[in-house]
Structure formats: C-alpha cells, structure tokens
Symmetry: C3
C-alpha cells in the first residue's frame, strides 16, 4: 500500500492537544517505535514500550500527555489524549485507499435468484450466490464467492468478505462485517439418543446479528433449534469462535479468538471472553463479566465478575492458588518434615 | 419462516400419550417456556426449567408424564414420553418447509468435468466444481460453491452445504451431512526433520466417512498418510473440530465443538468428547469412553471410562482434587500452624 | 488411488543400506505393520510398534538398522537409515499420481481482473477470483474457488487449494502451500473503547509468508494493524490455527492444530507449539522453545525452554506438580492426622 502524507496532513487528521519539534519528512509508512525508520509514523500505545520512545527514529510520533521525552532533529511529537485512537484515525484514512468503495451492481458471474431483492446501491461481487427471497440493503457489499440463503436479510452497509456463508432465514442488521469464511446459520448440534443411534433434532430457528457487529474469519454461528441465536449490537467476535444454538449475546461484548460458547447460554452487555475460553451450556453471564484466556466457565457469573482458571473461579483466588500450586513440592517436604518431628516427639515423650 | 399449524395438526404429528385442556389458537411459532406467547408451542426438555411450565403463556405445551401442572384457559398440554423427541417431530415437519427438496440436475454455472458421474436424481448447485472421476449418488445435494476432487465419491442422499471441500479420492457413504466450510481430505501434518528443515511426508491416503455422519461448519478432517482416516457410521461432529491423519473413529460417537484429535488415535463406538477437549496421538479410547470439556487425554482409556481435567484422570478423582485445590490456601495455613505448634512443643519439651 | 510398484522399483526409490529376503509380489498399497496384507508395503516409523514387525504380513518392509527381525517367505526387508524418510520417498512418487501437475492457463470460469499479472506457466482453476494488481508467479496453482485480493502476490510454485482467501496486499513467497479454507489477511482484532462502544482500529498492514511455508485447512492469519504479520521460511502450521495481527514467527517452526497466538508476539526459529496451545500477546519466545499441548504461555520464554501446563512453567516442574496434585487427597489426610497427633501431644504434655 502506498502512503504519502505530510506532517501537516497528519496533524490535521490527528488534531493533537499540542506538539513538539518539526519534520520535513513525508510519511510513507507506519511502524512500531523500535523498528521505525525516518519517514515513518509511530506511536506509544502500550506503556510497556515507553522506553522505546527516546530511541525511535520515526519522523512523527503520537504520544500521550504524560510522556516526558523530547524530539530529536527533524522529528515531530504530536501529544494526544489517546495515541491508539489517534493512530486509528490515520489508519482510517489509509483504509479508504486499501478498501475503496466498490461500484454498485451485481457482477455478471454472480448467481442471483429472481426472487431476491438487491438494493440498487449494493454490490454483489463475482461468483456470489443469492437465493430466492433474500434481501440486500443499501450500500451492502458481498465481496466475492459469498452465499446468501433463502429469505436471508443483509442490512444497509454490511460487508461480507469472500467465502462467507449466511444460510436461509438469518438476519444481519446494519453495518455488520463478516470476515472471510464466516458461517452464519449452520445447524445447532442437537440429537436425541433413540435405539442406539443419535437422531437429529431439526434446527428450525435462525441467527440474528445486531448492528455494528464484526465477526472474524472462519467463525461459526449455529442457528437456533427454534427461535433465535442472537448477537447484540456492537459486539465484536474474533477468528475461529464457535457460537452454539440459542446462545444470546448482549451488546458491546468482546469474544477473543477460538472461544467456544455452548448452547442456550446468555451473555449480558459488555462481557469479555479471553482467547480459547470455553463456556458451558445453559449458563448466564452477567453484564460486564470477564473471563481469562483458556478459562472454562461452568457456573453462572454475576455482573462484573472476573474469573479465570479451569474450572473458572474468581481471579484473585485463582491467582493465589496458582502461586501455591507451584509451592506444592515444598509443601509435601514440609509435611514430611512435620511427620518426622512428630515421630521424634512421640518417641521422646514415650521415653 | 412461516408456520401455521392447528392444535389438531400438532397432535397428529406428536401422537401424545394423553392430553389436558384445549386451544383454538393456530400455532405460528416455537419458543422457550418463559418467552413463549399465545399462539406459540413450547416444551419441557430439561427439568431445570420445570418451574417455568405453570407460568408459560404458550398455547400448546409438550410435557413429560411426571409433570403435575394444569393447563390454563385456551391452553393445551400434550403429555408425551419424551418432549424433546416430540418437538423434534414438529421441527422435522417445519424443516421440510425451511429446506425444500431441490430440483435434480446440474446448475448451468457449475463446472463438472467430463469424466464425473452425477446421478440423474442428484442436485449440483450453482458454482460447484466437480473434478474428473468423481461420483455423486442418488438424491445427493451439493448446495452451492462445493468442491469435489478427482475420484471422490458422494453416497446417496448426502447433503454438502455451501463451501464444502472434499478432496481427491475421499469417500462419503449414504446420507452424510457436511455443514458449510467443512474440509475433508486436507493433508495430514507430517514432516521429517532433515538437515535443519521439515521435509514434507506426502499424505497419499484418504478419508472415509460412514453412513449418517453429520459434521459441523468449518471442521477439518485430514487424509491419511497412507490408508484411511475413518469416521464410523452415525457419528456426529460439531463445528471447528480437527481430526488428524489416520484417526479412526467408531460408530455413533459425539464430538463437541472445537475438539482436536491428534494423529493415529482410535475411538471405539459411542465415545463422547466434550467441547474443546484434546486427545493426543497414537492413543486408543475404548467403547463408550467419555471425556469432559477442555480435558486433555494423554493416555489410553478403557471402555466406559469417564475422565476430566488436564491431563485427564477419572472424573471422581478430578472432582475431588478440584475441591481440594480450592482449599490450598487453608492447607498452607494449617501446615504453618502445625509448624508453629511443633516448635512450641519442642521448646516446651526441651525446657 | 491405484498403485503398482515392483520390489525392484521400490528398492530403486528407497536406495536401502542393505536388504534381507525377497518378494515377487507387486506392491499395490501401503499399510501399518499390523493391518498390512501380502502385496502391501509397511514400515517401522515409531519404536512403539517394534513388536509388530515379526508378525506383519506386508510383502515389503522398510526397517531401521537396529531391527533384528528376519523376513518370512516371499518377504523383503529394506534396511534404511530412517524408515519414515524412506516411506516419504515412496509416497512422493505416489503423490505425483494423486495430484498430477495441472495444465497451465486460466480456466474460462475464473474471474481475473484486467490489471492482474498471471505468469504463463501458472494455473488459475475454475471459479477463482483474482483482483486488479494481483501477481501470480511461475507454476503457481490456484486450484479452484480461490480468492486473491488487490495487489496480493503469489510466488513461484505456490499451491492454493479450494476456497483459500488471500486478501489485498498480502504476499506469499515461493512454494507456499495453503490448504482448503485458509484465510490470509483478515483484519486484526483491534478496537478502542470510546463512549461505551468498541470503535474499530483499521488494520492497514499485511501478511507476508516466507518460502516453503505450509498452512493447514481453515487456519486464519490476520493482517497487521500496520506493517507486517510474518511467517518465516519453512514454518509448518496445522489446521484451525489462529495467528493474530503483528505476530512474527521465525523459520522452521511447527504449530500444531488449533494453536492460537495473540497479537504482536514473536517466535524465534525452530519453535514448536503443541496442539491447542495458546500464547498471550506481546510476548517473545526464544529460538527452539517448546510448548506442550493445551499449555497456556503467559510469559516470555528463553531460547530452548520447554514448558507445559496452564499457565505454562518448565516441564519438569509441571510434571512434578501434576504427580503431587494427584496426591492431594492423601496430603489433606496426612495434615489432618498431624493435627490430631499434635492435639494428643499437647494434651499429654499438659497432663
């Protein structure tokens, strides 16, 4: 990707609280503090890297108010409230070049059933399949090789990337982004054990995804046994995440990569699940609950709870126990020592 | 999805043992006990929700024999042996509307090699690719954008959903259902370390999937190094599951979402693996063995074993140890207390 | 797959150090020692199966130097330095039959933008989409239904299997193999929490994959927030693995199935991660570090470290603690016993 932004252009995008120094360099790239070269933009987004500011060769740096470093020659420091947000503004400008708005219309190679309704401002890219009764909203974008099943609904401004599958009757509200390979509406995993065989329970519900939801590559969301599997407004889901049937997720949650949630569990708003965490079925996680990476949740969580471990317990207790676990070899030795002392004392008192 | 079933129609589908009450409502939806409104059907499938029966506003309820509740006005209770099975029968009726039988034939946009054999009653949907030598059985359905490699075989009544990939030489027996994005026959992960590099071991076997197997979205099954990776009849596999090369799975097993099984491991019939469980390579799990969610199996399991934990041990022991683990802070305090007592006793006896 | 190789042909492929016995059988299949029948080839690749050599009915066996067994009638033993490598050579011959070189050219059903550059010796299979500015090198093979985004680059001899997605600006060096459903260049999972909502941080970097890398089915690799997500030369990645944005992986690493690596973590060369292991973000794993299956790495690892457990610690300590964990019930009993003894001693000394 080609970038060429002057210091003045970046200042205009970022609108800093103040600045120090100056540069005549044209910014042609972004880089981490340590790896940046002259002509690049960098930022301090994580205090962990604070020590790298002084030595950074970047021409422009986005820094927080409390950063004491001074710019070198031909170097501009822009002081901002939140360097990550400031960088995001620069990236948003770049993103427009990376992903230009596609021209509206249906590509000649797409297979769109007669009964489908495609808004005139929407884009249906090459080799997509859109079945009868499907509805595609204004400025929606099916990039390429997307499948949209019967009566599925894609809201205004949605973006479905290559290989996405949305099956019959599922619904996406406005501005949903589905990354490549996401499957919305696969069957829930439900069987009855009858005469030595697992007989399938038909899954006749759907999936409903709220506005401004984003879902990462190759994640899977099962349709409800009946009624709805629901993802609330503004929730963000990472790659390779599994959402089982009849799960109901609140608004503005964060689910990191490879998380799995079993059937009929509900999450309140603002729940955060760390990577590879698992949540058992038929549970309720209260608003703002947090779960550590790889943790296994097997009980309901109250609002604001923060748990970790397998099975998951309050994080302070889990951390205390992890420390003690590492002291088990010493504890066993101490107990053996005590047993010897007692034996000696008994012998002494018997004597 | 539009539903409109009278109480009489539902009774005819469900064939209850007995009934209580009556309703004139037309059933136009299914819902959980608590959320159901008049005009909807509900059921008691899990005793956990027993208390919700009395207050449910559903017009028709499917209930077990031992349920003592009485219907309200304009409410019909159908007493059945197994409410989940009864609901499944209703859903099966609905499913036919959701997924109508496609017309047989090859869609004009599909790319079918001259040497492929497609049964006249099969459906090859839009934008599928079928390579030379592939065989597709009677009433099989490749929905859309499916890939079927050279000499691959798809049995009668199979259903391959959008984006499924079945590579060369793999074989599906009758009525196999593969959800969107399933990959059958990717290379096994095998290398030899030679002169500082991992040299690929070609994987020239295949995958053979027995009758009535169902596999969830985006799961992956590797072809054998040589001979076969095998999935036994009636086994059900959930989403995002990894089956490595040369794994042999018995009949009627259940593998929950995100399970991983390493190479050359064999599972007997009726094995159940909980979500996110992992099984190491070259192991043997006996018939009916059960593994808890997120557990890690690193040893052979006898028939009927039930294990949990990481690494997995018999579940009773694991549960006992989990309780004791939570008491570690108290145990460390007790041992410190003992050490102090002993010191006091020694001082006293020395005095 | 049809095989028909004489003993002489196999000997020529394998080039053994020595041989014992002889066979007139034509080899028409490969099998494990125990399951092999006359007319098949087998090998001893894992000492665990040593006892199966004597009873094997295979007509040709590939065996290590230290194997003392003697061939039966009509049986040929080929003594080789490394039986697995020798088998790999036989399989490589078979692989050429399984995956014949495709004819060069662009399939009529592929959608290739005018601005794309496809080498004359490359193959673009049916229903692929290649966007403007993309570059495809000599002898590269996009098998079918592959998506290649704007300005993406595919090096000489790469092989992209059905359904692979490589998004804009990503780069594959020579001989990269991507199995079905791999997604390269999905957005990193990055948001800023502003006014109660997660605002997206645009991800404007790319993914760069070194020569001879192989990546398993349905794995996902996120593009960098800016700059590059990097996979080093010769590294092999199994199925359903998640690589987050700005991760940098060294050369010749092995990542087993369902591994997840969080953002900005770096791995040195020759790192090995067991199946389902997770690595937190912003960490550094030194050259040759090894991580056990399902382990959770939450700290930097030194070169050569071997860790296991959750959270991961040095494997010897983890193994010691696992043994002691199983003795917790006994330890609690011992401590209770000590408390009783102390009480008795105190009473005695008070008397």
């Amino acid at each position: 990707m080609q970038i060429a932004l002057s210091a003045a252009e970046i200042t205009a995008i970022v609108r800093p609280l103040s600045s120090k120094g100056a540069t005549t360099a044209t910014i042609c790239g972004l880089a981490a503090l340590r790896g940046a070269r002259p002509g690049e933009l960098s930022f301090l987004g994580n205090v962990k890297y604070k020590a790298d500011v002084a030595a950074s060769a970047a021409s422009v740096l986005l820094l927080p108010v409390d950063c004491a470093a001074e710019p070198g020659p031909d170097q501009l420091f822009l002081i901002v409230e939140n360097p990550s947000v400031a960088l995001a503004r620069v990236c948003a400008r770049l993103e427009q070049a990376l992903w230009p708005r596609p021209a509206p219309g249906v590509h000649a190679s797409a297979v769109v059933a007669p009964g489908a309704r495609v808004n005139a401002t929407a884009t249906v890219g090459p080799l997509c399949v859109v079945e009868a009764g499907a509805v595609i909203g204004a400025h929606a974008h099916l990039q390429a090789q997307v499948f949209l099943g019967r009566n599925a609904r894609v809201g205004d401004g949605c973006w479905l990337m290559p290989g996405v599958v949305v099956t019959a009757d599922c619904e996406l509200h406005e501005r949903v982004r589905l990354h490549a390979g996401v499957v919305v509406g696969s069957d829930g995993f439900g069987y009855e054990f009858v005469a030595g065989r697992h007989e399938k329970i038909p899954q006749v519900g759907n999936v409903e995804i709220g506005p401004d939801v984003e879902i990462g590559a190759n994640s899977t969301l099962d349709r409800a046994r009946f009624s709805c599997t629901v993802i609330g407004e503004g929730t963000k889901i990472d790659n390779l995440v599994q959402i089982a049937h009849n799960v109901v997720i609140g608004r503005h949650c964060l689910l990191c990569a490879q998380v799995g949630i079993a059937g009929s569990t509900t999450l309140g708003d603002y729940v955060v699940l760390g990577g590879q965490a698992g949540v058992a079925g038929h549970l309720s996680l209260g608003q703002g609950a947090k779960v550590g990476g790889q943790a296994g949740v097997s009980r309901d969580l109250e609002a604001g709870a923060f748990v970790d471990g397998y099975p998951a317990i309050p994080i302070q207790l889990e951390q205390r126990i992890r420390v003690l676990r590492h002291r088990l070899p010493a504890l066993f030795r101490r107990v053996s020592g005590l047993e010897e002392e007692i034996a000696r004392l008994k012998k002494a008192s018997a004597a």
